[in-house]
Subunit: 320 residues, 4 copies
């Protein structure tokens, strides 16, 4: 069988490198180009093969049947359009086309488990942010059942490994600045991913105030979201809600024990647990949800979407 | 001036070692004994002096004017009583006498900033847990002003360095099990510190459901608590509430920027920030509060209390 | 094809767990038992399957065609003999039968690349220590060519991740004791692995004083050895010596750049580089050699040996 | 007493920041300016005071009685001359004036313990590199006694925390690139510090080939050097050599146990141990030497030198 030729725009960041590695190991995909800006000319060794980054401007877009864009937010959209004009399908990993990004994009949102049908026929998919992936997959079963108290506050404290901040050298991301530290950022509901989550929540009929506080962890990879939700009614065995909703999902693990980063790192899965809070009057659930920010939170989910867009097996080439 | 002779029971754990170090460097205190169980006979070098742990049973309690007990929960109370019988004042760092611990202790609770008067005259003080120190000092100004929405859920996600789990060797605390990992524990409001916090909150008239989810960080020291509170009314400049409440406190830092662990490690301070949430209908505050779990969260606060109990300067011997 | 039934004695340590994981993923092996002492009854999840540790005394030795013993040094030999008596082939990962261990064992030494023939026909193989694996494979080509200055000092500074110290809970291996620290241990040529290396070096005709100083790294896995050797004569392109010696080896990587731990972690390879020292009068080589202490340094090499003992492909089931 | 006004050129790197912190806490020094290039205008908070970096070109050199230059190698010399022209004494932390740097500088070399007299009267001192500080202080007593085998190879494997690579953002120093990794660099005797060490060794009559292999540790601060030396004759109690040589030194700790990074971090000390190698024919010593690369290895030693140059107590303001 011939492999499908694909290209990666913006391959030198962490998500881009992960994409190159996944494509190189994918039984049905073949990497025909990988582009970079600052690191053009540099070589990445993945799966024993050398990948040399070419300038984005020199990307032979028409040689690819599908293009992944991991270009920076704000600059991706232009290249998405060029790739489409060259006849390629596109998965855009930037925020340019995500829900809540400002325009009125009719672009399918590649949170695969929630939008499988839309994604399957699509020529262009907007790949979700890492935090929204962990948080929305955790909340979706509650939304479907109308179980969240209307008008209530949903509080999400999430923590991410440093690769979530990208490969761009910044003094505050140097090893010596991160080790032995921990802090919140974007406090006050100012993180870019909030708009993305709110747009999806609204779309699914949620009537809540989402409070989203991300934190920076001294680890390389992984996101853990801890979500507190007031319920509109008592429920008995909360975990069953997720077990039922995700019964047939190859990339969702519903767990009786609290997920840890090491359960999910380098795997294209989300791992979710849910527990009722003791010692409260109102019924409250605490949901914990873990992903690898570069795999299920970025490159892995992008390949999962690409698989569907190309009519391949959804699980092809993905570490579960 | 003569130094006050003090002893440390249970000195071999992380809090006990920190106590020994603080006492050795304290201008007005002198360490006359330090006890241990499993590590009896071992020697700790602090401030250039060697401290050898004697068996707890052999502690010359009557030689100390004040005794710190860092013995394990459940075994401390007996030694607190023995030390009192021998004529010593006592600061108990265990949970045995804390609010919510079950009995009806009339023991002053050594969250110094909130109970300075009671502590000052006391012969026995129960030193707070590390999480309650960070969280209750963050919430107190809101409680005083009646600003929390009655009946609401207060959601606290807190993360602690590994010394918070103690010096006891457990396979799950080995370096290789912690590095590159992060997880929640005690999910579902089951942590021992919840009862302590609820007792204090009730005492101060709070009508809330506290949801407390601790997490284990791959760092040695430090606690960061991220607290989400629904307000009963809009307020304009939230930070001023804390600035006013703690205007004269030597060990409380109110900060316009989000505190990080490295702002507080090895210092006897709590550092607090508060921000209004954007993009909500109900008024919501996000409060972040950081301490060193071994200093302000344990040994430092214990010395702060001892200073008051002994009529010394509250700040004596403490790194601020 | 039927899978070969194998058992793991002492499966609860880091090497034992790695063995279970490798066996579970091996196309030709099937795990029929895994034993533990302190952790009997506990369950390990590997490759999606649950492995429950049984007491070593209850191991059905006669059900296995090959047994791996990862029992502690000193207690392994007895079980090696029992397993042999029950008709199983054995790979012993303890030091009990290694060269230099005291007795005069005629047991093949499973440093596979150097002893492939002996290992292939063997019923019992002694698996090398982790440090000797990295160091002896680095030195072997020099020895074969008689290139080391007779009577000279060969200086080896090696550093290992903390899993090298085992899974036994010890206070000095707790996360908070290791993070941000680095130290040498066994300084003065007192490490157990020295005798093993010296025995092999003597066997291969080396006339040198080996100085071996191990260090403890704040990482989970990996060993890097930095070796300084005085040559008996100038050589031109040192790296070619290793390229030639290991031309056909599937698990040896000869590298023009200095190997890093992350080049080898979770892979059954040794990665070696060699550079001539500038600014010296005598000709000196600096050789750097990296392995994963749990893979090529323990469980991976054990499976490599087992593959040969069982007449399978040497590379079967091994991550290269 | 009036404090001596000092300035820091190049204050925004790790050594420069450490200098600012030490000066701010120094009882006899007062910081009158701190300059930076890329980070001009930024503010550093040390010891509760805010220090704002001004452009180096705007430094009021004539207001300082002593200037520390932590400017990059190659650009420092020009500013050293300008500061001297303005009437200030200068401690230069760059390599521009160090032994072996190429010119024939008659500048005193501020390895204080070895050159105290020269430094005391000096107007300009060249502050040693971090590695040379740890290594030369370890070797000096052997050199004085003529104990190193003539013509022998002295092998030094040294490992440094990441702050040794500076505060400049480079992708390879990002947290996610360093955590869980370890590697050698400058392999083959190519590190800049080799020339500095060789010049000093020659000066002290050493007839050896120094092999110096630095490594990059996943820690923020600290250097550990492990040094293997062939002796010209047997000695009995090697440690006494160092104890005698450094008997009156406030910043040298001679230790019977191997030093660890955590023994020296944030302290202006070098900690040295020495052990005879067992199992060798030739007499060999293994010396381990630890410093904090930013304190004794840079800013601390610079202040130590400044104290002597200004006629203050050598220990003033330094954490021992």
């Amino acid at each position: 069988m011939h492999k499908v030729p694909v290209g990666v725009l913006g391959a030198s960041g962490y998500a881009g490198r992960e994409l190159c590695a996944l494509v190189e190991r994918h039984p049905g995909l073949e990497l025909v180009f990988a582009t970079a800006h600052g690191q053009r000319g540099q070589t990445l060794t993945v799966a024993g093969r050398d990948v040399t980054f070419i300038p984005t401007e020199e990307a032979p877009l028409n040689e690819a049947r599908l293009v992944f864009s991991a270009l920076p937010h704000g600059t991706s959209l232009e290249w998405v359009e060029r790739a489409q004009a060259a006849g390629a399908k596109v998965v855009d990993l930037s925020s340019d086309l995500r829900p809540g990004s400002g325009g009125e994009p009719a672009v399918p949102y590649g949170l695969t488990e929630l939008n499988r049908e839309e994604v399957s026929g699509a020529d262009l998919v907007s790949n979700p942010g890492c935090y929204p992936t962990a948080i929305l997959l955790a909340l979706a079963p509650l939304l479907s059942e109308g179980l969240i108290e209307p008008g209530s506050t949903v509080s999400v404290a999430a923590a991410s490994g440093v690769t979530g901040a990208g490969y761009t050298p910044r003094p505050d991301l140097l090893f010596a600045e991160i080790i032995e530290d921990f802090r919140a950022y974007g406090v006050g509901n100012t993180h870019r991913h909030l708009a993305e989550m709110n747009a999806v929540l609204r779309d699914r009929g949620a009537d809540v105030d989402l409070i989203f506080t991300p934190h920076l962890l001294p680890v390389a990879r992984g996101i853990l979201a801890t979500i507190v939700v007031r319920l509109s009614r008592e429920i008995d065995k909360p975990l069953e809600l997720w077990s039922r909703a995700y019964a047939d999902e190859p990339f969702v693990e519903v767990s009786a024990t609290t997920p840890a980063l090491r359960d999910v790192v380098r795997r294209n899965v989300v791992r979710i647990s849910a527990v009722k809070a003791a010692n409260t009057r109102a019924p409250v659930l605490i949901i914990t949800s873990a992903i690898d920010n570069l795999t299920k939170g970025a490159a892995g989910q992008a390949v999962q979407n690409a698989n569907l867009m190309l009519g391949m097996e959804e699980v092809a080439g993905l570490p579960a």
